[in-house]
C-alpha cells in the first residue's frame, strides 16, 4: 500500500544541539506504530516537527503523497494529520457533545456558521452520538468536561480526534495519568480505532505498546535506532543499551 504518511531525513537543531537527526519513517493506512524512547530522546520535538508547530532545519514531511513541510499546523490538520495531547486539552466549560459537535462542524467547514444550533442539526448529532456511544461517553454528553473523570476526558480526546476523520492519528501518551482501573477502557478504544487509519502512538507504558503496536520505532538521542516488530525490540542490543535495559530484564515480558 502506498504510504499515507512519510517523514524523510527530518533534522532539527537548536543552536549546536541536534535534537532530531535524520529521522525517516513511512506509514501505510492501517498501520499501528508505537514510538518509544527514553526521556530526552526527542519525541516531543519530533511531534512538533511533524504537526507543523516547529519548522525543521531540513528534511520533509509528506501526507498522502503531498509534501506539507511548508504547510502550517492548521493546514496539516485539515489534510488529515490529527493529534491528541499528552495532557488533555479540553474546554473545561464545554460538554462532550459540544466538543465532538465542534470537531464535526469544523471538519465540514461549518464551524464559522453564524446561525443555527448544532443540537438541532440531525446529521451532526447522529455523528456526535455515534462517537460518544462508541467511546462509552453517551451518558456524559451534556455534562461539563470539568465534572467528568480524567479517564473519560482521555476518551473524549480520542472522540474529538476521530470526529475530525483523520488519515493519520498521532496519540501522545493516550493513557498517561489514567488510573489503572480505567486503562482497559482506553485500550478498548484504541483497539476499536478505524482499521484504515494510520496510528502513531507515543507511549511510555510498555505493556500498552506491546498490546497495541504491530511495529515499534525506538528514538534515542534524536535518531531512530530500531524500527521493527515488537517481538524483536527487546532482543535488540542497541535498544537494550539505550532504553529498555531494565524492562527487558524484568520477568513479565512475553
Amino acid at each position: 500500500m502506498s504510504p499515507v504518511f512519510e517523514v524523510a531525513n527530518l533534522k532539527r537543531s537548536f543552536g549546536g544541539l541536534v535534537v532530531t537527526n535524520d529521522v525517516s519513517l513511512s506509514m501505510a493506512p492501517g498501520d499501528r506504530v508505537a514510538l518509544i524512547g527514553p526521556n530526552g530522546a526527542g519525541k516531543t520535538t519530533f511531534v512538533n516537527l511533524v504537526t507543523g508547530n516547529l519548522p525543521p532545519s531540513s528534511g520533509e514531511v509528506r501526507l498522502g503523497g503531498e509534501t506539507v513541510t511548508r504547510v502550517d499546523a492548521i493546514g496539516r490538520v485539515r489534510r488529515g494529520l490529527v493529534r491528541s495531547f499528552q495532557v488533555t486539552r479540553l474546554f473545561q466549560d464545554m460538554t462532550p457533545a459540544e466538543h465532538v459537535g465542534l470537531a464535526v462542524l469544523q471538519r465540514d467547514g461549518r464551524a464559522g456558521r453564524l446561525f443555527g444550533r448544532f443540537l438541532n442539526m440531525t446529521e451532526v448529532m447522529a455523528e456526535v452520538s455515534e462517537l460518544l456511544e462508541k467511546l462509552g461517553l453517551a451518558e456524559l454528553a451534556y455534562r461539563k468536561v470539568r465534572e467528568i473523570a480524567y479517564g473519560q476526558q482521555r476518551l473524549l480526546e480520542i472522540a474529538v480526534a476521530l470526529a475530525l476523520k483523520p488519515k493519520v492519528l498521532l496519540l501522545d501518551e493516550p493513557a498517561a495519568g489514567v488510573p489503572q482501573s480505567d486503562t482497559g477502557r482506553i485500550e478498548q478504544a484504541l483497539a476499536d480505532l478505524p482499521p484504515d487509519l494510520a496510528v502513531l502512538m507515543i507511549e511510555h507504558d510498555m505493556d500498552l505498546v506491546f498490546r497495541f503496536a504491530k511495529r515499534v520505532i525506538v528514538l534515542a538521542a534524536g535518531t531512530i535506532i530500531f524500527d521493527g516488530l515488537p517481538a524483536d525490540v527487546t532482543k535488540d542490543a542497541r535498544v537494550r543499551e539505550a532504553y529498555l535495559g531494565n524492562y527487558a530484564n524484568a520477568s513479565h515480558v512475553a
Binding site: 504537526t51 499546523a73 492548521i74 490538520v77 485539515r78 490529527v82 493529534r83 495531547f85 486539552r89 479540553l90 474546554f91 473545561q92 466549560d93 464545554m94 457533545a97 459540544e98 459537535g101 465542534l102 470537531a103 462542524l105 469544523q106 471538519r107 461549518r110 464551524a111 464559522g112 456558521r113 453564524l114 446561525f115 443555527g116 444550533r117 448544532f118 443540537l119 438541532n120 440531525t122 448529532m125 447522529a126 456526535v128 452520538s129 455515534e130 460518544l132 456511544e133 462508541k134 453517551a138 451518558e139 454528553a141 451534556y142 474529538v160 475530525l164 476499536d192 478505524p194 482499521p195
Partner: protein, 334 residues
C-alpha cells in the same frame, strides 16, 4: 466499530429552552423600555444614551466575554460609527436615519477589522497595551481631522430626517428613544443567534484554549477577526444611535475613558452573557446619574466602592452572580 448507530442513544436535551429565553429576554427589554418611558418621560435623553452605550457594552462582551480578548480601546468602534453617521449627515446631506445607521454599522465593522489586525498579533498584556494605543490613535485622528470631525468642538450640523419619513426626531427625544429601543432589540436577537451558533461555540473554545482549536484545524485569529467585525457592527450601531439622537458627536465618543467605562459596566454586569452586558450598562449609568446628582463631589468615589464590592463579592458580575444563584436554587428544588 460494530456498534449500531442509534440516534436516541444520548439523551436529548430540552430544545425549547433557548428559544423561550430569547422571548423572555426580548420581553424583559421591552418591559424595561416601557417602564423607562413611563417613569422618566423627562429624561429620555439619558435613557437613549443608555441604549447607545448598551450596544457598545454588548459589542465589548462579544470580544471580551465570549472570546477572552481584553481591550481598553473598544470605543474606537463606537466612535467610528458615531462619526460615520454624523459625517454622512453633516457633510454629505445623507439624513435618512436608517442610512446613517447603516453607515455607522459599516464604519464600526471596518474599525473592528482594523483593530483586530493590529491587536490579534499579540496576546495578554501587550494586547491590552495595543488596544490603548489604538484608542489614542483613533482619538488623535478625529482630533486632527477637524475639517471632517469638528475636532475638539465636536461635529455638529447633524439633521436626521424623520424615520420612514413619518416620525420626526422631536425635542423631547421620543422618536430617538423608540428608534434606540428598536435597534437594541434587533441587535439583541441577532446576537443571541450568533452566540449559540457553531461560530459562537468555536469562539468559546478559543477563549478556553486557542491551541486546542488550532489542533482541530480552525484558525483562532480568523475567528477572532470575524468576531471583531461583528462587534464593530454592533458598536457602530450604538455610535450611530448616539449621533442621531444627540445630533452632535464629541471626541469623548472615541476616548479611552469611554472604553474603560464600557469595560467597567461589562464587569459589573457579568462577562460572557448578553443579559450581563445589558444589566451592567443599566446599573452603572443609572447609578452614575443618580449619585452624581445626589452628591456631585463624591459620586466617583461611590462608583469605585460599588465596583470594588462587586469584584470582590460577586466576581461573576451582578447578573452573573444572580443567575448562578437561581440556577443552584432551581437545581436544589428539583
Amino acid at each position: 466499530m460494530t456498534l449500531a448507530v442509534n440516534n436516541q442513544s444520548i439523551p436529548s436535551r430540552p430544545r425549547g429552552g433557548s428559544f423561550r429565553r430569547d422571548l423572555i429576554g426580548v420581553a424583559v427589554i421591552a418591559v424595561f423600555a416601557a417602564a423607562g418611558y413611563i417613569l422618566f418621560p423627562d429624561n429620555l435623553a439619558l435613557l437613549t444614551r443608555i441604549l447607545a452605550v448598551a450596544l457598545l457594552v454588548l459589542a465589548l462582551d462579544l470580544v471580551t466575554g465570549y472570546c477572552g480578548v481584553a481591550t481598553l480601546g473598544h470605543a474606537a468602534l463606537f466612535g467610528s460609527g458615531a462619526y460615520a453617521a454624523g459625517i454622512l449627515s453633516a457633510h454629505y446631506g445623507i439624513n435618512d436615519p436608517l442610512l446613517m445607521t447603516l453607515g455607522g454599522i459599516v464604519a464600526g465593522a471596518v474599525a473592528g477589522l482594523l483593530c483586530a489586525v493590529v491587536m490579534l498579533r499579540a496576546h495578554g498584556l501587550p494586547q491590552l497595551v495595543l488596544s490603548i494605543a489604538l484608542i489614542y490613535l483613533f482619538h488623535e485622528l478625529a482630533n486632527k481631522a477637524s475639517s471632517w470631525t469638528g475636532g475638539s468642538d465636536g461635529l455638529s450640523g447633524i439633521m436626521p430626517d424623520p424615520v420612514f419619513g413619518v416620525y420626526e426626531f422631536d425635542l423631547f427625544g421620543h422618536t430617538a428613544y423608540f428608534f434606540g429601543v428598536a435597534l437594541l432589540l434587533i441587535a439583541f436577537v441577532l446576537l443571541r443567534l450568533v452566540v449559540r451558533s457553531p461560530f459562537g461555540m468555536l469562539c468559546r473554545g478559543i477563549k478556553e484554549d486557542p491551541l486546542r482549536i488550532r489542533a482541530m484545524g480552525a484558525s483562532p485569529n480568523a475567528a477572532l477577526a470575524k468576531m471583531y467585525v461583528i462587534s464593530g457592527a454592533v458598536a457602530g450601531t450604538g455610535g450611530a444611535l448616539s449621533a442621531i439622537s444627540t445630533q452632535v458627536v464629541a471626541l469623548d465618543a472615541l476616548s479611552f475613558t469611554q472604553s474603560a467605562e464600557a469595560l467597567v459596566m461589562l464587569v459589573l454586569g457579568g462577562t460572557g452573557s448578553l443579559f450581563g452586558a445589558l444589566a451592567g450598562t443599566l446599573i452603572f449609568m443609572l447609578f452614575e446619574d443618580y449619585v452624581s446628582a445626589a452628591n456631585p463631589f463624591h459620586w466617583l468615589t461611590m462608583v469605585g466602592v460599588l465596583l470594588i464590592a462587586v469584584v470582590l463579592f460577586a466576581p461573576k458580575g451582578i447578573y452573573g452572580t444572580a443567575a448562578a444563584y437561581f440556577t443552584r436554587r432551581g437545581e436544589a428544588n428539583r
